[in-house]
Subunit: 149 residues, 2 copies
């Protein structure tokens, strides 16, 4: 059996036998201070469970895609954009990001924001906003104030 | 959109718009003091994320199946059997339960054990141990001491 049965949490949101990875290839998309760990991926599961952690005041990429995100916050707090809504999130909150919804997560300035993100094993690549998309997004003042590109 | 974008954690491991369900139909299998909440299920995800909570000293059913379980403990502590191993688990530990491995979770006497369990949307029904299976399982003294049937 190649997959470890029990991977202990090290106490700092890292796990045994689970490398801390770059969030994305540098220069492919704008983001700030985000790491990625793949917690479970197996062809038999049909999906992948990842843990992302955003350092204080950091943010993920503003993007959208056909595939869904199913998210549970497990560390700290922050805010997120889903579609045209910006809202605060805290530990153990659940966030469902529908197909083709613009979304972005940001950590509070006081501490990191860590969350589980579940995706289908087969999924499309994220799309970044075009200048025209940004004009539309920024017609909502709350969204305009929140997003980082 | 029928799925709620943001379901807040109520602070006691229940969530908005997320019913607390029976673990299994009564009398279909032995277990003690377990509840189930379906956190995410969507055909587009290909999998289902559930939260199970075992009351102090309670236990899940001793069972096995073809499908995998990918587990993260998120509340309390306890012990589990996977295959022939019995080990202690604590918050944020990861447990991978391979195909056809006998498994059972038990909460510590001092508090509940809560965990996320990820499964493929298409999966087989659990199998209960036959008398012959129990004889084999109980050849290991640690397993014999741990299991509840």
């Amino acid at each position: 059996m190649s997959i470890t049965t029990h991977r202990r949490h090290r106490g700092d949101f890292t796990w045994e036998d689970t490398p801390v990875l770059a969030y994305k290839q540098a220069d492919t998309a704008p983001f700030r201070d985000v790491t990625r760990q793949v917690l479970f991926e197996d062809a038999q599961l049909g999906c992948q469970l990842r843990y992302f952690e955003i350092a204080p005041a950091g943010h993920t990429t503003l993007e959208r895609h056909q595939h869904l995100h199913a998210v549970m916050i497990i560390r700290g707090g922050g805010q997120c954009l889903v579609g045209e809504r910006v809202f605060a999130v805290a530990a153990h909150d659940l966030v469902h990001i529908p197909s083709l919804s613009w979304h972005q997560f940001r950590a509070d300035a006081e501490g990191p924001l860590g969350f589980l993100c579940l995706v289908n094993a087969e999924r499309d690549r994220p799309q970044l906003p075009s200048p025209e998309d940004l004009i539309v997004l920024c017609q909502n003042a709350h969204v305009a104030e929140f997003i980082r590109c």
